[in-house]
């Protein structure tokens, strides 16, 4: 059955001639050339290349809308305001109330990263690994009407736990996962969020080094277990560690987004946590996530 998810707030609008230039200077993507009517995903990183926030950037002509995908709007807004030069004409406007987002998986061939507008609601299609999603952005009352229409058509409205399960099964980074562990974008297959030619930005040194070496110490996998595994770093039987970023209970089992060494990230294989007080959890690797271009 199809499903969709509605989230309110965590939206910012940038107004001013230098909006794209300011965003370009602090993000992982080449945003200076983002055309009107186009969208682009990108990350804000810390100095060690770890994800601080993930953005969907909408060029709406005289305004740039930012949807903070990881719910970390406050820190990104502060970064933008503090980074703004006195020469730049940019206002950062928080929209924490009155506007919402609706995410709905779609199938088939579609043009991605192109903005459509119907009434006051904007929409775009984004690709996240193997998932194509229609993202709607607009006033909350209009998004609510849209959601009711989808429900009438048989779509199931996901709650926040369903949403985490949906994301974990598809290899997407979740807000709760980012709270537990700040991965480097390449570890969680977010290569499409990065321009490897744009030049310097905060965290770029780490990304460039990993890209040049072509070898990651960790890669993301979706793991199914019979019991809950606590978030954090766990020792594995036989050596090595697994980082559990987020974990959600499904119908009959638990599903977790994890990072492991690529040498042990084989789909269909099982890992075991180190026996602690007589117990060990069997971790069944259901998917290993790589960028869609691989």
């Amino acid at each position: 059955m199809r499903s969709h998810y509605v989230r309110s707030g965590d939206i910012s609008v940038l107004i001013g001639d230098d909006s794209r230039s300011l965003l370009h200077s602090v993000s992982t993507q080449h945003l200076e050339d983002l055309s009107e009517g186009e969208t682009q995903t990108c990350c804000i990183l810390d100095a060690n290349g770890r994800i601080e926030d993930r953005l969907l950037v909408w060029n709406l002509g005289d305004q740039i809308a930012l949807t903070h995908m990881m719910g970390r709007a406050a820190s990104t807004r502060e970064l933008l305001v503090r980074s703004r030069s006195w020469k730049q004409n940019v206002d950062v406007i928080p929209l924490d109330e009155g506007f919402s987002l609706l995410f709905r998986e779609i199938e088939g061939d579609h043009v991605i990263n192109h903005v459509e507008q119907k009434g006051s609601v904007h929409s775009t299609i984004v690709r996240s690994l193997e998932t194509l999603e229609m993202v709607y952005l607009g006033p909350s009352q209009d998004i609510e009407i849209l959601s009711k229409d989808f429900i009438e058509q048989g779509s199931n409205l996901r709650d926040s736990i369903d949403e985490d399960l949906y994301r974990i099964k598809r290899g997407h980074l979740t807000s709760s996962g980012l709270e537990q562990h700040r991965p480097i974008p390449l570890e969680v297959a977010l290569d499409s969020d990065i321009s490897f030619t744009k030049g310097c930005y905060i965290g770029q040194e780490m990304i460039a080094r990993l890209d040049a070496r072509g070898a990651l110490a960790r890669t993301s996998v979706t793991v199914e277990t019979d019991t809950e595994i606590p978030p954090g770093s766990q020792s594995l039987a036989g050596g090595g560690r697994i980082i559990v970023m987020s974990s959600v209970e499904g119908n009959d089992s638990w599903w977790s987004a994890c990072l492991v060494h690529p040498d042990v990230a084989h789909v269909g294989s099982s890992l075991h946590t180190k026996q602690l007080e007589g117990t060990s959890v069997e971790l069944n690797i259901r998917n290993r996530w790589k960028p869609s271009s691989d």
């Binding site: 609008v13 406007i93 929209l95």
Partner: protein, 129 residues
């Protein structure tokens, strides 16, 4: 096409910017290079040093020769012989105490800024935080 109308929504975010009375120094080689760059425009033009977002450390230096602004009230002015160097009040905290040098090398040459306020800086010398 925009998401919000011009009025009726949240106000833009603002931050309080501290302004200090900055000090600034330049080496003899930097002063010579400034004279060379400015040529005969020293009466009508000024050298402006500013800070922009970007680079691998978060902030980047910018140096430009610009026409002398009519309104100098937002700037702090420094005189090196005939050369006037300006910094904007909003950059005064980040640029306070800098020393401008000039290195005549084929790679990585040009004006260099030593900044006592920088916790870290990039190898290229243009980015700092």
């Amino acid at each position: 096409m925009g998401l919000i109308e011009s009025d009726g929504f949240s106000l833009p975010m603002a931050v309080q910017v501290e302004v200090v009375e900055a000090t600034l120094d330049a080496t003899d080689s930097a002063k010579e290079a400034m004279i060379g760059a400015m040529g005969s425009d020293t009466g009508t033009h000024v050298l402006m040093v500013s800070v922009e977002a970007g680079g691998c450390s978060g902030h980047m230096y910018d140096m430009q020769i610009i026409e002398r602004p009519d309104d100098m009230s937002s700037f702090q002015s420094f005189q090196f012989g005939d050369i006037t160097l300006l910094i904007h009040n909003k950059d005064s905290t980040l640029l306070n105490g800098i020393r401008i040098d000039y290195r005549d090398t084929l790679l990585g040459g040009g004006f260099q800024i030593e900044n006592p306020n920088a916790d870290k800086s990039c190898g290229c010398g243009q980015s700092f935080s």
